[in-house]
């Protein structure tokens, strides 16, 4: 398939998923409310006389992002469970990698929307000096989100057919969140403390390498989970 | 003289032995069911 046709197919699949979600907005609203609740709970879940809001902020932000993402990514392959729609998709000339990338793009858009909406709340709740350094935070968010969405999408495709999918998805995904969260929290803490991004080239490189490895591996492995 | 932590040593050696032996036994039992 030509590259431009591939990209068209990817965008078509992503667009379809997002359009379906936009109609009801159920998963989106749930994820957003979940994010607000987690942010709030983590704010109060500390001894405020010992742990300042600034200290708790980076960890709270990333736990919120990843947990809300897990809630949201569940829906990706649920859509295709109805009427065996995945088989229909596979009958099209779109290669399986294209279907997978389309799903990943949809998930990325979904998770990015949640993250972007959560940022103002985060700034307000935790009273952190973030406005000046927002672009840098967005860069880190992009790096980290690219780390867990492809793997989450792949795992979602597998667990959707099992009985306790909502439980098994997070169970399988959580270990894969550890390196990105460690890196993202370190860099976010630096940003909130006024340190320049250049002080974190190690962590940023690690995140970048993680992204590269897992995006590639996830795309390659998707083919293996389709039964032909 | 050395620190008096022999109890930990005993505990660890016992736990390790129990786990290894229990696993070995479980394999034997399960294999036996298929004879």
């Amino acid at each position: 398939m030509r590259a431009s046709a591939f990209i068209d197919a990817v965008l078509a699949i992503a667009g379809k998923d997002l359009a379906i979600e936009w109609r009801t907005k159920t998963a989106f609203a749930s994820s957003l409310v979940f994010a607000i609740l987690v942010l709030s709970i983590l704010f109060v879940a500390r001894d405020a006389s010992v742990v300042s809001a600034l200290d708790a902020a980076p960890g709270a932000l990333w736990v919120t992002f990843t947990f809300a993402a897990m809630v949201g990514m569940n829906r990706a392959f649920l859509l295709e469970r109805e009427n065996r729609a995945l088989e229909g998709l596979l009958l099209t000339p779109v290669p399986p990698a294209g279907i997978f990338v389309g799903k990943v793009v949809a998930n990325l858009a979904f998770v990015a929307a949640i993250e972007l909406l959560a940022i103002p709340l985060f700034i307000v709740f935790y009273d952190v000096p973030l406005w000046q350094r927002l672009p840098e935070l967005l860069a880190v968010m992009a790096l980290a989100t690219f780390a867990f969405v492809p793997v989450g999408t792949l795992l979602g495709a597998m667990v959707v057919r099992t009985r306790f999918a909502e439980l098994m998805g997070p169970l399988l995904l959580l270990p894969f969140l550890v390196p990105p969260i460690i890196g993202a929290v370190q860099v976010t803490a630096g940003i909130l403390s006024g340190r320049p991004l250049s002080a974190y080239t190690g962590w940023l490189s690690l995140l970048g390498l993680f992204d590269l490895v897992f995006v590639t591996v996830s795309i390659l492995l998707f083919d293996a989970i389709l039964d032909r | 003289m050395f620190p008096d932590n022999g109890a930990y040593m005993v505990a660890a050696y016992v736990v390790a032995a129990v786990v290894v032996l229990a696993y070995a036994a479980s394999l034997l039992v399960r294999l036996r069911k298929h004879r």
Binding site: V151, L154, M158, V159, R161, T162, R163, F164, M168, L171, L172, P175, F176, V178, P179, I182, G183, Q186, G202, W203, L206, L209, F210, V213, F214, V217, L221, A224, I225, D227 | F2, P3, D4, N5, G6, Y8, M9, A11, A12, Y13, V15, A16, A17, V19, V20, L21, Y23, A24, L27, L28, R30, L31, H34
Partner: protein
């Protein structure tokens, strides 16, 4: 494998496992009675003769599972998946040994039950990935789907562990936790070294024997399942 090969594999695996158990008993005797007590750390230091080899066997099990998962995805031979799963279960057992002896050793030596250093944390996550591997495996009934899904987890896990190791190591060097008795990798006198090496050998033998047994068990179960399907189908 032929009809008689599986029971033979089971027998040989059992023999090797029994040899390993005998070796373990010998290591116990040598470690407890014929290896001197380390002066700074005391008797608890001897836990190291079990903890390190168990972690080592767990790591081998993990690498085997990862490698054979990858091979299955390439060659689609279900026997490869069977070996990956057998190795994973044995790895789980050694993981339990490692995760129990570790804290019991850590408390008197490091002052805390757990320390988030790179090696321990990596092995903890290997254990958790193994658990996830089996949870997924047990949730899927069709053997081919189960093999495919397990292999995907196996390969993903293989790619993940180096990243966990590095990120935890960097995290740790930024936030070192205080330690009571810090054993800085003492150069072991030969008496202790021999005990340690003997233990590594024993745990390797145990791994091989157990994995052979577990593989044979899986093969027997699959054969039985196929016979049942043939009769009814």
């Amino acid at each position: 494998m032929t009809e008689r090969a599986i029971p033979q594999l089971a027998r040989r695996g059992t023999v090797i496992a029994m040899l390993g158990l005998a070796g373990l008993a010998a290591v116990y005797v040598r470690a407890l009675m014929f290896t001197p007590i380390e002066r700074v750390q005391g008797p608890a230091q001897k836990i190291f003769y079990l903890h390190a080899p168990a972690a080592w066997s767990g790591l081998i099990a993990f690498l085997v599972t990862g490698l054979f998962s990858l091979l299955y995805l390439i060659m689609k031979d279900r026997r490869l998946d069977r070996l990956a799963a057998a190795s994973a279960e044995v790895g789980l057992a050694f993981g339990v040994v490692m995760l129990t002896t570790g804290p019991i050793w850590g408390k008197p030596i490091w002052g805390t039950w757990w320390t988030w250093d790179a090696r321990l944390t990596s092995t903890l996550f290997i254990f958790l990935l193994f658990v996830g591997y089996f949870v997924l495996r047990n949730a899927v009934t069709d053997p081919d789907t189960r093999a495919a899904y397990s292999s995907v987890i196996g390969v993903l896990a293989l790619a993940l562990v180096p990243f966990i190791h590095v990120s935890v190591y960097w995290f740790r060097t930024l936030h070192p936790t205080p330690v009571v008795l810090k054993p800085d990798e003492p150069s072991l006198p030969s008496v202790m070294l021999v005990t340690l090496l003997a233990s590594f050998l024993v745990f390797t033998v145990l791994y091989v024997g157990f994995t052979m047994q577990r593989y044979a068990l899986a093969a027997l179960r699959d054969a039985e399942l196929e016979d049942a399907l043939d009769v009814s189908g």
